[in-house]
């Protein structure tokens, strides 16, 4: 039934074609995933370097080695690189691209050329954004709030244009995934038999398609304001800076769910496999992914409780924000319930999954403080918020991302990574992360504001502890990436189709998969997690 294709010949997808040109013009989703790996890991290291520089600078209340402007630029670059170039493309583009067609029994994504185009969008957009460094960097914070971003002499236009182009990478990936999930499922694979990682990619794709265009038009208006001098958000002409915040957060809050829902999908897969037990409440987890992506469009106002938004709007947003917390709580309970009466094994992916469970639970409950109106008035724009979103983004999205990377590593590269060092890196990141961000919660509740280059002496001990923690978490992640890169080239060869004993489709084909994924398309008979 699968018609033979002219240019697929022996060997797996990595060595079936040689030469850089064959990689740069590939339309094979697995190769595009590896190309995303290189780009995303490079930017993760650069962003992480900026984070360590920031923490080093904040070791003492007085400036250490940066001026005010330099600190603002490093702070903005850390934010922009991590958000636009690492976490938003991270799980969906890298692991989604690799695993989606394999898990639904398809030969490739629906629009392979579009898939390659979204990789180029990310690379070109990132190049444009990085060009801003040559014109003095950007010092507006990754949120580009007007009127400061309209007036700042820095090269804001470059980063904004870069983010605009990278937005297309996100939109095209979203379109690709929705059509693939709808049209290319293997025979017998109904929607309710889809693995939960596919459900999470589907929910994420909906957000990517609906929310990213609004960011596109917002950034375009900001570029017009800076280049043509039309002052749409400029208060001198009566423009309303709070309107920019509405536009920006209408995208950026669903964007934080683009970051976390795919990671949740990976956690469902990893916990089911490493507990060797059927996932608990399959329907509940699948529908809560959709519920989160639906409600996420109605909650953006909780970023603007104190920004001049009307009190009434704040109250409505406060209640809706609490509602978006409920599906997340349901997922957490279902994951822990999956471990009940299972056969739990603590390999590296499972350790990262447990990192996710613990850190993301803290991230979730601290969200309650910020969603309660009166408490947010006190805690808004303090280090409490910084710690909250690092717990959800780094503790949640990135831990899920690394769990997925280690989980699919044998299938992607056909080699094993060093298991012992993997576990060490999981523990190091957990310890270092908590040492970095628990003190920030305490500082934040005492009123230490965000984005401060010099601060009040009373907060010095907390900053010091946080800086020490940042060294440990940086070492942990560098070790994790080192293990993966070394494993790719020197790891023990893995030809076993199903090293972890999982029941989803991607483990039925050989390691690493051939160009067309399956020699013949499997037919699915039961639900995805049938661990009898």
């Amino acid at each position: 039934m699968s018609n033979t294709d002219t240019h697929s010949h022996g060997g797996n997808y990595i060595n079936c074609e040689k030469g850089l040109w064959s990689w740069l013009t590939t339309i094979d989703h697995k190769r595009i995933a590896l190309m995303y790996f290189i780009v995303i890991m490079a930017f993760f290291l650069i962003g992480g370097l900026f984070a360590v520089l920031l923490r080093l600078e904040l070791l003492t209340p007085e400036p250490l080695f940066m001026t005010g402007d330099a600190y603002n630029r490093v702070m903005t670059l850390h934010g922009s690189i991590m958000v636009f170039m690492v976490i938003i493309p991270g799980v969906p583009a890298l692991l989604g691209n690799f695993a989606l067609p394999l898990m639904i029994g398809a030969k490739d994504v629906a629009f392979p050329k579009l898939n390659l185009a979204s990789w180029y969008c990310l690379v070109i957009g990132a190049a444009i954004a990085v060009m801003s460094l040559f014109w003095g960097g950007v010092d507006t914070g990754w949120t580009f709030y007007t009127p400061y971003s309209g007036k700042s002499a820095d090269a804001v236009t470059f980063v904004v244009l870069g983010a605009f182009v990278m937005g297309f990478s996100s939109i095209l990936t979203g379109v690709n995934f929705i059509v693939t999930i709808h049209k290319l499922r293997a025979p017998g694979l109904t929607m309710m038999r889809l693995p939960l990682f596919i459900w999470s990619l589907y929910a994420t794709a909906i957000i990517q398609v609906i929310a990213t265009p609004v960011l596109g038009i917002t950034l375009l208006l900001l570029v017009f304001e800076r280049t043509f001098g039309i002052g749409i958000f400029d208060p001198v002409l009566g423009g309303d800076p709070v309107l920019f915040q509405h536009f920006f957060w209408f995208y950026s809050h669903p964007a934080v769910y683009i970051m976390i829902i795919p990671a949740m999908g990976i956690i469902s897969e990893v916990i089911a496999t490493f507990s060797q037990k059927t996932i608990f409440g399959y329907k509940a987890i699948a529908y809560s992914s959709l519920a989160i992506s639906a409600i996420s469009f109605l909650v953006w106002g909780h970023h603007m409780f104190v920004s001049g938004q009307s009190g009434f709007a704040g109250k409505v947003f406060s209640i809706l924000t609490m509602l978006v917390g409920v599906p997340t709580a349901i997922k957490l309970f279902n994951w822990v319930a999956t471990m009940y009466k299972g056969r739990v094994k603590l390999d590296t992916p499972m350790l990262y999954a447990i990192n996710f469970l613990s850190l993301f639970t803290i991230g979730g409950v601290t969200g309650l403080f910020l969603a309660a109106f009166a408490v947010d008035v006190h805690l808004h724009d303090t280090y409490f918020v910084v710690a909250h979103f690092h717990y959800t983004m780094l503790g949640g999205a990135l831990m899920g991302f690394f769990a997925g990377l280690f989980y699919w590593f044998p299938k992607m590269t056909g080699r094993y990574y060093n298991e012992f060092l993997g576990r060490v890196s999981a523990i190091m990141t957990f310890v270092g992360f908590n040492l970095t961000f628990i003190p920030q919660f305490i500082m934040g509740s005492q009123g230490m504001p965000r984005r401060y280059h010099t601060y009040d002496g009373v907060f010095a001990p907390y900053h010091m502890a946080s800086t020490f923690g940042s060294w440990i978490v940086a070492a942990g992640f560098i070790l994790a990436i080192y293990i993966m890169v070394r494993g790719m080239f020197k790891g023990k060869i893995c030809t076993e189709k199903n090293p972890w004993g999982s029941t989803t489709l991607e483990w039925t084909t050989d390691t690493p998969p051939i160009h067309e994924n399956f020699t013949e398309i499997p037919t699915v008979t039961g639900r995805p997690y049938e661990y009898r």
Partner: protein, 321 residues
């Protein structure tokens, strides 16, 4: 609720700043309740998870059960979190409403946030007094702040009063509090506003009513003194002090000591002797002549300073030998 705060403080050091205004206990009580619920929830979930990992580890248990779902359990952990979360939201809204209602006899002070300093304007029988960085406030008197900004977004935040509101250029925002404790309380700017965002701090000085009236009378009297150098000092302290020192050291801009009559070298113009015309021009449009080695960071003060005030500054700079 008070004992709850003390227990938590003892346990986790999550001490909130001191309670120096009315209605602050509302925020602290809700904060402590959420903290308690979070700690109980988190430790509970982690304990159950750890128990499952140890009890059902692969080395101990070799047969995993087939439990696809359990309706009662799922209903419980859907309904209970919804009730708790929405309950917290409603409590937060009620607390906000109470903090938000402005009593009718509130004393009005105008706050203006400008790039990297706070300015407060008091009205006393149709006379306006501008004060920088330190805001005097009578104790146990409800105060309402009507705030705006002149250039970019700032945010007026006093942790001890648990109040915070952005100051938006072109828009009036208000926040109100009733100070209950005397003393100095820190003001922070919490909306990113550029180079010296972290230096934009001030103090709320809560004093007794008599002490406040005495201070205000002195300020009003000072407001209409005639000596230009004295006035020049006042204008300098309110607008220029953050970036230019009266000595020779650089804060962000060049120091002003010995400026009058000295020769100035520029990045984009040829040298000239500093005179009244040069000082006036560098206040109105600073970027036409940028002193060598300094960034073009200064905003124009056109429209912010009257001609008279610029004259006073020039007189004041003349005295800086």
């Amino acid at each position: 609720m008070r004992f709850l705060g003390d227990i938590l403080q003892m346990l986790f050091g999550f001490s909130l700043p001191e309670q120096a205004a009315e209605n602050v206990h509302l925020v602290d009580d809700l904060y402590n309740v959420i903290m308690l619920l979070s700690i109980v929830g988190f430790i509970g979930l982690m304990a159950v998870m750890t128990y499952f990992i140890i009890r059902y580890h692969r080395s101990v248990n070799n047969k995993s059960a087939y439990i696809p779902h359990n309706l009662t359990a799922e209903l419980i952990w859907t309904i209970i979190p919804t009730i708790i979360f929405v309950g917290i939201a409603i409590w937060g809204i009620i607390a906000f409403n109470k903090m938000e209602t402005v009593p009718s006899n509130a004393y009005k002070i105008n706050v203006t946030g400008k790039q990297w300093m706070w300015e407060f304007t008091y009205k006393r029988d149709n006379l306006e007094v501008n004060v920088a960085d330190v805001m005097y406030v009578p104790v146990n008197v409800p105060v309402v702040l009507e705030m705006t900004a002149t250039d970019v977004l700032h945010s007026f935040y006093v942790p001890s009063f648990r109040i915070k509101r952005d100051t938006v250029p072109g828009m009036k925002t208000r926040v109100n509090f009733t100070a209950t404790k005397k003393g100095d309380f820190k003001i922070f700017c919490t909306e990113f506003c550029g180079t010296a965002h972290s230096k934009m701090r001030g103090i709320v000085r809560v004093v007794s009513q008599e002490r406040f009236d005495q201070w205000l009378n002195r300020e009003v009297k000072e407001a209409n003194i005639s000596d230009p150098v004295e006035l020049g000092l006042r204008v300098y302290s309110r607008n220029c002090a953050t970036c230019h020192s009266t000595g020779t050291n650089t804060i962000i801009g060049p120091g002003l000591q010995g400026l009058w009559g000295s020769e100035r070298a520029f990045e984009n113009a040829d040298k000239l002797v500093a005179d009244a015309e040069y000082i006036r021009e560098s206040i109105i449009s600073p970027n036409t002549k940028i002193v060598k080695g300094y960034p073009a960071k200064m905003n124009s003060f056109a429209g912010l300073l009257t001609e008279k005030e610029i004259d006073h500054i020039i007189e004041f700079i003349k005295t800086l030998k």
